[in-house]
Homo-oligomer: 185 residues x 2
């Protein structure tokens, strides 16, 4: 079993950047399904804890996007539920196993998600605030806080694209090391 | 010269789908710079013909997005000017020459651009129209017209991703044919 195809890769805990990606994928699943999903589906579909968490987020960050769920954001969130969430499962599996077939899906996911941050950051910084999001008059500090909250969803997918574009087999160096270790036994 | 690296590919006119992509890239350059750009930069930067063309578009299609230039759209248009336009030049060159280095950039471009159509179509179909875009009360027919106008910018980039994902060397079959022809001489 240990010699099965895809085995022999360095354990995930010894690949810090890959571990960080997997933590990002895994933690993103409940965030997408339980929090972000509330902008796409009626709130009665969600557990009370999840609606409370969103309420806390809205109160803390004065987020005009999750607070008003504009039409443009709703279709982005549908993509998150229907495309990103399945990717997180596949990517977690592929990263643990060191499977290079994840390369092109990861480039597509990373580009897609980085791109969705453009309208989000544009809404924070370039909107005619009061007019576009009535009731939300964001100060510079509010915008900066929201940006810090959202920016990991630009940085991590972007770094994923960089990792995947850089090498045809993104896990090769870890597999080589793993193979050497296996031979030592 | 005819034997230079990258030569020997079938002429573009004999590759109908590639020709269609190149027509899409080339015609997109003035559209981006002269029309879409008016949502990112002040209108005095643009020739009168271009502002007239946008005015005609707004009158014909009742486009709430180009008509109000919301913050979320502005950053998408900045990406169009700074990322897509350079890609169109590179891609035109690469498609004419049959250069496979365009593969990953084309996947990134295609995914990016398809993604930008999500907020655009979401704004047309899922918005609380009157509230989000005051003055624009779009009928079903208006939304359908706008969708038909914008949908090529989802379909063409998506087809490009499909073409580029499908084969590691997307022009190989045209190069082989070209090579055979060259030998016949």
């Amino acid at each position: 079993m240990a010699m099965a195809k895809g085995a022999g890769v360095l354990p995930l805990v010894r690949r810090p950047m890959d571990l960080l990606f997997v933590v990002f994928f895994v933690t993103h699943i409940p965030t997408s399904l339980l929090v972000d999903g509330q902008c796409a589906l009626p709130s009665e579909y969600f557990p009370q804890k999840a609606t409370e968490l969103l309420a806390f987020h809205l109160e803390t960050f004065k987020d005009p996007l999750m607070g008003t769920c504009p039409g443009w954001l709703q279709l982005i969130i549908w993509c998150e539920l229907l495309l990103q969430v399945p990717f997180f499962f596949a990517a977690t599996y592929a990263f643990v196993r060191g499977s290079k077939w994840i390369r092109i899906p990861a480039i597509v996911y990373g580009t897609h998600t980085s791109t969705t941050l453009m309208p989000i950051l544009g809404a924070f910084w370039l909107s005619n605030g009061q007019k576009e999001y009535p009731g939300y008059n964001l100060s510079f500090e509010d915008k900066a806080k929201l940006t810090l909250l959202y920016i990991p969803y630009l940085i991590m997918p972007f770094l994923l694209v960089v990792k995947m574009v850089a090498r045809e087999d993104p896990f090769k160096r870890y597999r080589a090391g793993g193979a050497k270790k296996a031979k030592k036994k």
